[in-house]
């Protein structure tokens, strides 16, 4: 995931799901949409497409947010299929020194984690950000958090 031969930094988009501060490699994000469906930015030009949506509140074991309208959607290209991840709030785009401030999950967490897309931790200011690989497709696991197919 981190190509040390190319860059010593990694651009990470942070976001909140309940109390959890999470981050994803910015290059994974194809689209970022407002609740209304208006795109904030687009890396990959894509027209209307059938979109599978995962609710990360369910993935994180949290109850459904009542104010669904305020939530945002991170869209990633997962092996040629567009998948949307619904999050509570998008944070900031940060740049992290990969050699100094990114670590794999400690062994105990690596074993015990149920969310297979969780892979590491980075330090950002006074916070630890939990890193997820939203392009990773766990094999033979229930699609926790799956909501429905939606049109964007």
């Amino acid at each position: 995931m981190v190509d040390s031969s190319e860059a010593a930094t990694l651009a990470i988009l942070t976001f909140w799901v309940g109390p959890f501060l999470l981050g994803v490699e910015a290059d994974q994000i194809a689209q970022l949409t407002r609740p209304s469906g208006q795109r904030l930015s687009t890396h990959i030009s894509a027209g209307a497409s059938d979109l599978k949506v995962m609710d990360l509140r369910s993935t994180c074991g949290l109850p459904r947010e009542t104010d669904e309208e305020q939530r945002q959607l991170l869209v990633v290209d997962q092996a040629g299929e567009k998948v949307g991840y619904r999050v509570d709030q998008v944070g900031e785009l940060i740049t992290i020194d990969t050699a100094m401030y990114i670590w794999p999950l400690p062994p105990l967490l690596e074993i015990q984690k149920r969310w297979r897309q969780l892979w590491g931790v980075c330090q950002w200011e006074n916070e630890l950000v939990l890193l997820v690989d939203l392009q990773y497709q766990p094999q033979n696991e229930p699609k926790e958090g799956y909501i429905s197919n939606e049109w964007t």
């Binding site: 959890f20 994180c60 074991g61 949290l62 400690p106 967490l109 015990q112």
Partner: protein
């Protein structure tokens, strides 16, 4: 990010280092006693071999992690090393009380891996011989016998010595190949 060990942990660790230095200096004298760090969970005292002890910290800011068992509190950054932290009361199935200002995080190292254990308070260092551990441990909550080496009478009560090997074996640590 937690600073160097200070506060309650420093006193204990200074004592541990002195003891280890004394043991090295007199290594030709075989002593059957082992030293344990005592700590409190609710109202019961437990012990941990000082050989597993790395340091004791005031409770640092712990970053919660989603979708993990309840006894895993989260992760901390300990001077550039990210560690998992375990709530021992939750792991042993003990009732949770209100957090107190005496809480501490014991950093242990077992099988080459460091982990933080949250406890209610830190006590003294205790010298015990193997034959002292002749009491059956308190099996509170849903805890299993494998989590404990044994128990000794201590003061007016008991000191239950925990087994990191038993605890981490239950956690699947030994199967980790990462």
């Amino acid at each position: 990010m937690p600073d160097s060990p200070t506060g309650p942990g420093k006193k204990i660790l200074d004592q541990v280092r002195r003891t280890q230095q004394n043991q090295l200096a007199s290594e030709t004298i075989e002593s059957p006693h082992q030293q344990y760090l005592s700590f409190l969970l609710n109202e019961d005292w437990y012990g941990l071999s000082v050989y597993d002890l790395v340091e004791v910290l005031p409770p640092p800011k712990i970053t919660r992690v989603p979708s993990v068992p309840d006894h895993i509190l989260g992760v901390i950054n300990l001077r550039g090393e990210v560690l998992s932290t375990i709530d021992l009361k939750s792991f042993f199935g003990l009732p949770q009380g209100e957090p107190t200002e005496d809480q501490a995080l014991i950093v242990v190292e077992h099988a080459g891996m460091r982990t933080g254990l949250l406890v209610d308070d830190i006590g003294d260092l205790v010298n015990l011989a193997p034959e002292d551990l002749n009491e059956e441990p308190l099996l509170a909550g849903t805890s299993e016998r494998v989590f404990f080496e044994g128990a000794a009478t201590w003061g007016e009560g008991f000191l239950t010595v925990i087994s990191l090997e038993g605890i981490f074996q239950a956690e699947g640590m030994y199967s980790y190949q990462g």
